[in-house]
Amino acid sequence: MAHAGRTFLKPLLTVGATTVALCTGLAVVLATLVPAMGGFVITWVHAVAIGLAAQVFTRGGLHAIWRDRQPHPAGLIALCLAGMAAAVWTGAHLAGLVLGIPIDWLTRDTEGIRLPALLATLAGTTVLTGIGWVRNHTAHLRLLAELEQTRAAAAARLADEAQLRLLRAQLEPHMLFNTLATLRALIGQNPARAQDMLDRIVSFMRATLDGSRTDILSVKDEFNVLDDYLGLMAIRLGSRLSYRLLPAETALHLPMPALLLQPLIENAVRHGIEPAPAGGHIEVRADIDAAEADGAEGPRLRIAVSDTGVGFEEELDHAAALTTRPALRPSAPVARPTGNGFGLDAVRARLGAAYGDQATLNVTSPWPPSAHGGTLIELALPIRALDAAPATASSVRR
């Protein structure tokens, strides 16, 4: 409580002190230029009284009318004028009361005081309002910059995490030793296939390491990484895993967050295909959707990851406990349980950091709806926002 009181008191004291200082300056000028004012003391008391009253009226009005919203400029000017008029009247009466002198200059301007007094008040209010506006505006700009910086930092951090997760996936002992066991077996059985497998391992590992130096990959490069991974898994699982990668020609050059799809594919293999004795088929598509149904947000990059594996219909109870971000508009509040603690949630977090609420991720299981298992994950990424995101991030850093 004491702390809250202090934070409330401090800006109030600052405003008061600024006002008194400014009014003192005005009083010196006014008392020198207009002798009819009746000397410095009388002028100073008037100036301070009017100045403080002006602050009370304008700031009070600002708070009462707009609260924390951004005020309309015309409304702000009207408020200042009204506040000033009220301040001159109230301030003059207050000063008269303090000094014990009549305030007849307000009604009968015999000595020509009224005009300079009004001009001085106008000048003082303008300067004070100006200072306030400039300060507010710079604070607002700084806040915006900080916000943007935080967002960029979050996106970078999540990209790092994705990177780390991928490295961990490579080094996940089961994946590592099973892959090495297969390689060892193939060296004896089929040296050509062993070489092919080793090439894929090298290519996948290199892509993972390169991924740490860039946050954005083209759809083409992203699909190449998927191909390496799925190729390795297909050698291991044999006829139990088949897959097809179908990126549209037009989508190949588009940028996307690096290694965004990797966890989805890993999930499809680990939780969809591996537990199914008969195995299954994985398909990944990417194309451009020009006409977005629910808003004029421009063309979108649409990615669909589907598998005919186990599906997570049976895991509904578990998934209900998982949180889903409303901003990402999931069509069904289900999520495949992730053995490694990452997976869908991590992908959602990355989408949120890279695109705000502009990207969507939908999960449908079973897929197709008439089937017993199978899963479809659909992503829609705004193409324009993706191009803009790195630019704003770098301008903030500069």
């Binding site: 002992p173 590592l176 090495l180 297969t182 060892r184 077996a185 059985q189 291991r236 006829s239 004795p277």
Partner: protein
Amino acid sequence: MNVITPHLPRALIAEDEPVLAEALQTELAALWPELTIAEIAHDGASALAGLLARQPDIAFLDIRMPGMSGVEVAEAMLEDWPDGGRPPPAIVFVTAYDAHAVDAFELHATDYLLKPVSRDRLERTVARLRRHLNTAPDHDASLEDLGRRLGPLLAQLQPSRHPPPQPPLRQITAAVGNSVRLITVDDVVYLQATDKYVNVVTATSEALVRVSLNSLMARLDTRFAQIHRGTVVNLDQVASAERDENGRLSLVLRQRRERLAVSRLYTHLFKPM
């Protein structure tokens, strides 16, 4: 019981990755020419069916397989192994990696192999298996021995079998048509796992709930004991345990006519004091 018939050893390989299954078969052929591979299974369920149908001398069981893990296959095999006849196979578990399991294997498995399997290591396993088969294992003793070994392995390798205990349930809620029935836990006589459901049996009724037996078990108090991989019984409802001519144990219940079979893994619960 020891009928010594000159007989060529047979083995079953359960491994879901075809390349690895083939490699193990090839290397065994080189190291142990007289060993026949009776079957190669690529998932847990077919491994179990193959073991029971062919009754091999040796089983190489991969730990991670679709459907059932290797340890679960061993458990089910032990419970369903026919009385009389051949002793159960010597089990060699095969795994790529199980951080805490190696100690358990060391203590409780006949043998275990870590993938990739080096030739030296496989040679030692073959030698050990030959010695084991030469001692001509006895049917009952082998089953008992396997039962003793499997308990700790299951606890170690199937954490899902032993979920952390939760506050005990007072009622079990079961959907019956459009309504939900509340079954007081005290009234439950036993629980029986079916394909995707658990059948909750009281003195007068039965109801299906859609959870796994293990997750339900974790929420029951100490009156409830597992007596088979698919059965949990309320011990307060058990009148007696009786042995048939084959030595199989079954429970007579106070309020139900049917008897419940106790698997070899859990007979120790019903030894006289």
